[in-house]
Symmetry: none
Subunit: 415 residues, 2 copies
């Protein structure tokens, strides 16, 4: 079975809102093992919507339409679909009562225009809207399934999860139905090409699971995908491939699935009862902000000193003037002194120092824009690395944050 | 002319990423006065991609494809389009050199697979990729236009803005072509309802320009929209309405168009030769990161102290233990002492202190999650305000940053 998601709404085509519904529904359908082959967005225009429905009908088994269920003249989705299917729309009296109550709760008077919100194709099931006034509709006709959902994500998402998934499961998916599962491995300190090369034979030959590599923020992702009845079966299916990947490049795996590298660094900090502080120049607080993203971060994060000027690097972090003079503010030596300085001042177990040139100005031939030095200072280890990042100021700052997190993670993992 | 945006990538259909490119391009095309009638997403599958291209070709004048330009076997966009158009792809030697240099800079070896990245339909123009290795392509054939762009937004967006828009303007839009222009006014210290009320008569009666109010981060936006041939004509069209709005609520306008409140605060800092520093608890560096977003920020930003623990508030910021004990870490008194402390330590003209409860834990009845105290300390002014924000941890931290920026902006404006 393959599905298509058709979003209806001129505001999407004007770029005023993101079509996040397509992402949400796709993710849920993937988990159900239903392949999504197309997304389409079309405006509030009867002719073009009819054409989009016709194309979806021709190429897809399951057509999910979102948006255009309100009471105004712009809202055309159910009418257009019914016309295309040559079916009437009939008002259901029990739904009129529910709508009247919902409108009264919102202090909105029931008008004639509202009848269309509670009119449905006779053969259809109503999908309840717990967070708005437009119910959805699900109907199977000639082996094709049509689902109609409201546009606002806060109405659509619960309707999909609580009413559409059960409907699909009951009507389309038999027992023993296989869903699609994915395992995501996030690797650090390796390029995508290097990862690909080291498992190329597996990528080329494996079909269960299939293996794909892709780039994530600061990490390379290896994704194993397979159909299975449940999580346990999936884990069994991927085990041989997973073991082989772990044997080859397991030491670079820093996080899995929804986990970030930072989640795991935070867990290690807590587990080992360590604290961390940062001394930042070019990232100017982005690193400390990232270290405090998770609730309860005061357990392991003590504070930070953002030292933009050399004066503050000297005064607050105790970076020796001689180092700044000899090696410059952007140097591994300065990064080391910053890391050691902030560790001393805050009394934390680990200090991280970041200094670099975020640009767009301030680069030289020896020290170009994008050059960033990151150092770690702990009782048992002092390290520093220099990176050369490409991109805009914001990108360079973000990449610096990712690399600093990875540096800390690697230190914590080894210890 | 009507356009269709076709996103290519299985990861979109799996719901792993949002198709933000379609939104971005739609917004820019709307500004150019080009109607977008359809968005389509299709996977990395030659057959289905060909079908999507065929449909787009039949119903749209301008077809913009995003994604699938990389060097791997999955990347099919240019090949599939060329095959559909019955055109060859020819390697351009000058682009080979550019690619080799770009790869070398990233320490990636040039492999045979890379040739396809620099192969183009003979009649096409190359669209330069300043932030990645896959150039784009623009070609007009039989009155239809095809644009091919890379998938990653950080590569696609600058390529669209800097190379695609000029290409479209030169090739498709004649002189006298009317574009859609918008003027955005950003207001602070007023609610959206208050803004709406004060200009309701204008919103209801004006059609050229149309007026809309919406919520932005920390600001209320008033947007004036009209068609015009150029910026000058647009400014003339909106002048009477704009003057009337300024007369009524002009004193709350803190920024216009792409400007942020912070841009204007930074301009005022530079103009008045003032420097600023921050002392942050719950925002933990987000404020200082925002103060250093613009290039050249070292002119007015000296540094920051992120004091998560009380110990550091005392030790590094000199917040008296008595204040912490009597009023608590989250209090206007502590915020004031933090602001004064960081100003003293860094020697800056203005200090900003932020302390609050970002949650989800740590709230009490008197001091609930979302309570944030923000203070400003300067020679001629000391102020503090308490806010009660709703939302998740991340939202509360962001709202705090916005409010702190506005506090500083208002101080600078008055001075």
């Amino acid at each position: 079975m393959n599905a298509e998601i058709v979003a209806v709404g001129t505001e999407i085509l004007l770029g005023q809102i993101l079509n996040s519904n397509a992402k949400y529904i796709s993710e849920k359908l993937a988990e159900l093992g239903i392949d999504v082959f197309y997304h389409t967005s079309v405006g509030d225009n009867r002719h073009r919507l009819t054409e989009a429905v016709r194309i979806a009908h021709d190429r897809s088994d399951l057509v999910i339409l979102t948006g255009g269920l309100g009471p105004t003249g712009d809202d055309l989705t159910k009418e257009t679909l019914a016309e295309f299917l040559q079916k009437p729309l009939e008002v259901r009296s029990e739904e009129v009562e529910i709508l009247k109550a919902a409108l009264a709760k919102r202090n909105i008077a029931f008008r004639d225009g509202h009848y269309k919100q509670v009119a449905f194709i006779p053969e259809s099931s109503v999908l309840k809207n717990d967070y708005g006034t437009s119910p959805g509709m699900a109907v199977q006709l000639d082996k094709k399934v049509y689902i109609v959902l409201p546009g606002p994500p806060r109405e659509m998402e619960p309707m999909f999860l609580n009413y559409t998934v059960p409907w699909l499961t009951a009507h389309l998916l038999g027992s023993g139905h296989q869903k699609i599962f994915s395992k995501v491995l996030k690797l650090v300190e390796m390029t995508e090409s290097a990862v690909e090369e080291s498992i190329k034979d597996l990528i080329d030959t494996q079909t269960t699971p299939t293996i794909a590599t892709l780039l994530g923020p600061g990490v390379v992702i290896v994704r194993l995908t397979a159909r299975a009845c449940d999580e346990t079966e999936f884990q069994e299916i991927i085990k041989p491939v997973r073991d082989e990947i772990e044997k080859r490049i397991g030491r670079y795996i820093a996080a899995e699935d929804k986990e970030t590298v930072w989640d795991n660094a935070a867990t290690l900090l807590t587990k080992r009862s360590l604290t961390v502080s940062t001394a930042e120049s070019c990232t100017a607080g982005l690193l400390s902000a990232s270290f405090t993203k998770l609730p309860g971060s005061s357990e392991y994060f003590t504070g930070a000193i953002i030292a933009y000027s050399n004066e503050i690097k000297e005064k607050l972090l105790g970076v020796p003037a001689a180092i700044l003079e000899k090696h410059g503010a952007v140097s591994e030596e300065t990064a080391r002194a910053m890391a050691a300085g902030v560790r001393k001042v805050t009394g934390s177990s680990v200090g991280i120092g970041v200094t670099g040139i975020a640009g767009p100005d301030g680069g030289t031939k020896e020290k170009p824009v994008g050059m960033v030095c990151i150092a770690l200072d702990a009782q048992d280890q002092q390290t520093a690395k220099t990176f050369y990042f490409n991109g805009k100021r914001e990108t360079i700052r973000e990449m610096s944050v990712n690399r600093a997190q990875i540096l800390l993670y690697n230190y914590l993992k080894e210890g």
